[in-house]
């Protein structure tokens, strides 16, 4: 199974984090259903052109957080994560995305007030669009 994971070398976010986050989002959004077999670590390493060391790290974190489980000799499977957890993942990913854009703005030396204004403008344009 090929997973729709897109990695960016330009991002400041480490590769294993990108894999972890994107897999979580795919699971929380229901794109990958509970019980689905994930590619083997070596298989995903080939598809994403990433070492098994990095993939293993992402899989271990996801397993630790209860998103996936490894059955000895059978492979890695997506767990049934509760609705509450799904909600939490969604909220977290929204927070993280917004935080990242604020960090970008700050790296260009914008002040908090200027960033606030940018956000306000964007939100207003969305409101008008409705």
């Amino acid at each position: 199974m090929q997973l729709p994971i897109h990695l960016s070398n330009e991002s400041r976010e480490p590769i294993y984090h990108q894999i972890e986050h994107q897999l979580k989002a795919l699971i929380a959004s229901g794109h990958i259903q509970a019980g689905t077999a994930l590619p083997s670590i070596r298989g995903l390493a080939k598809d994403l052109e990433i070492s098994v060391i990095t993939i293993r790290r992402a899989y271990q974190n996801l397993e630790y957080q209860g998103f996936i489980e490894t059955k000895q000799g059978k492979g890695t499977f997506v767990c049934d994560i509760e609705d509450a957890l799904k909600q939490q993942v969604k909220i977290n990913s929204v927070y993280e995305t917004i935080e990242r854009s604020i960090e970008t703005a700050m790296s260009y030396n914008y002040t908090i007030e200027q960033i606030e204004e940018i956000f306000h403008n964007i939100l207003m344009s969305y409101k008008k669009g409705e």
Binding site: N9, E10, I15, S40, G43, A45, K46, I50, S51, V52
Partner: protein
């Protein structure tokens, strides 16, 4: 788990060529690419590992046995595909399989048949009569199913067509998934290196440049476009410069220096593995 391979301070001189000192450890479950220019010593290193040539100094242990010692059990744990299979020319694929298969306790006949079928290898023709591509396919079909924990492949894909290369990668991935196994692969094919390897062992004219984890390498290199050309002859981390473009293998140091000097960059990007290898192998670094 004990490492499969332990190479310590190995040196070898052949005429004017000096290999080493080489230090390399191969852990179970890993794929290591040997990367280097032509004549950098990749094949020599493999031959030394197989005890087909003697080291001048240092030691090579495979599965905890010194390869030049009296004990030879390690040989049943390794499969080696050299660039040229000596003594195969007069035999057909069928003959060769009958010689080779019984030597390996864990020979996978099904896998052999699958590879032969998928690659459409004619088993009834003499090895010498096959095209270079077919010879390479047959050699792989006679090597991978030996199912030894360690697989040494010297340029396995040089003559393969594109579909065969893709299929071989799938075969090797599946093969790796079946147990505690490791592959060492010498290759000039960037796709092999990108898709298969966890580690890149880089050799330049016999000198060991290093053994790098793939992502550690790609994360280490950054390219900067500066507002104006630098007046300094060299800045911290710099490994390459072309007018306003500077490549660094220590981005933190480089950025720190540029910021301190009040030098701005308009853009930055990471480097492709191909570019990084080229930089590592270029003579003037």
């Amino acid at each position: 788990m004990k490492p499969f391979v332990e190479i310590t301070q190995v040196k070898k001189k052949i005429d004017n060529f000096h290999l080493g000192p080489i230090n390399l450890t191969i852990e179970p479950g890993t794929i290591t690419s040997l990367v280097g220019n032509n004549g950098s010593g990749k094949s020599t290193l493999m031959k030394l590992m197989m005890n087909l040539a003697n080291t001048d100094s240092g030691s090579i242990n495979l599965f905890n046995q010194n390869v030049s010692g009296d004990e030879e059990q390690w040989k049943s744990f390794v499969s080696y595909q050299s660039q040229k299979m000596i003594g195969w020319d007069a035999f057909t694929g069928e003959n060769l399989k009958c010689f080779i298969a019984p030597l390996y306790e864990h020979w996978d006949e099904q896998l052999f048949q699958r590879i032969v079928e998928h690659f459409a290898i004619p088993l009834n023709q003499r090895f010498s009569k096959l095209s270079q591509g077919s010879q390479q396919k047959l050699t792989l079909a006679l090597t991978i199913p030996r199912n030894t924990p360690l697989l040494l492949l010297d340029e396995p894909t040089a003559y393969l067509d594109i579909p065969a290369k893709t299929h071989l990668m799938d075969i090797l991935v599946e093969w790796m998934d079946q147990g505690e196994r490791s592959i060492i692969i010498a290759s000039h094919q960037i796709e092999d290196i990108k898709k298969l390897s966890d580690y890149l062992f880089v050799l330049r004219n016999g000198e060991m440049i290093g053994n790098f984890e793939k992502e550690a390498l790609t994360e280490r290199y950054k390219r900067y476009w500066l507002r104006s050309e630098l007046t300094e002859s060299s800045i911290p981390g710099e490994v390459f410069r072309d007018r306003v473009q500077v490549v660094s293998n220590h981005p933190k140091e480089t950025e720190h220096y540029l910021q301190e000097k009040g030098l701005q960059w308009t853009n930055q990007s990471s480097l492709d593995l191909e570019e990084i290898i080229t930089l590592l192998l270029s003579p003037t670094r």
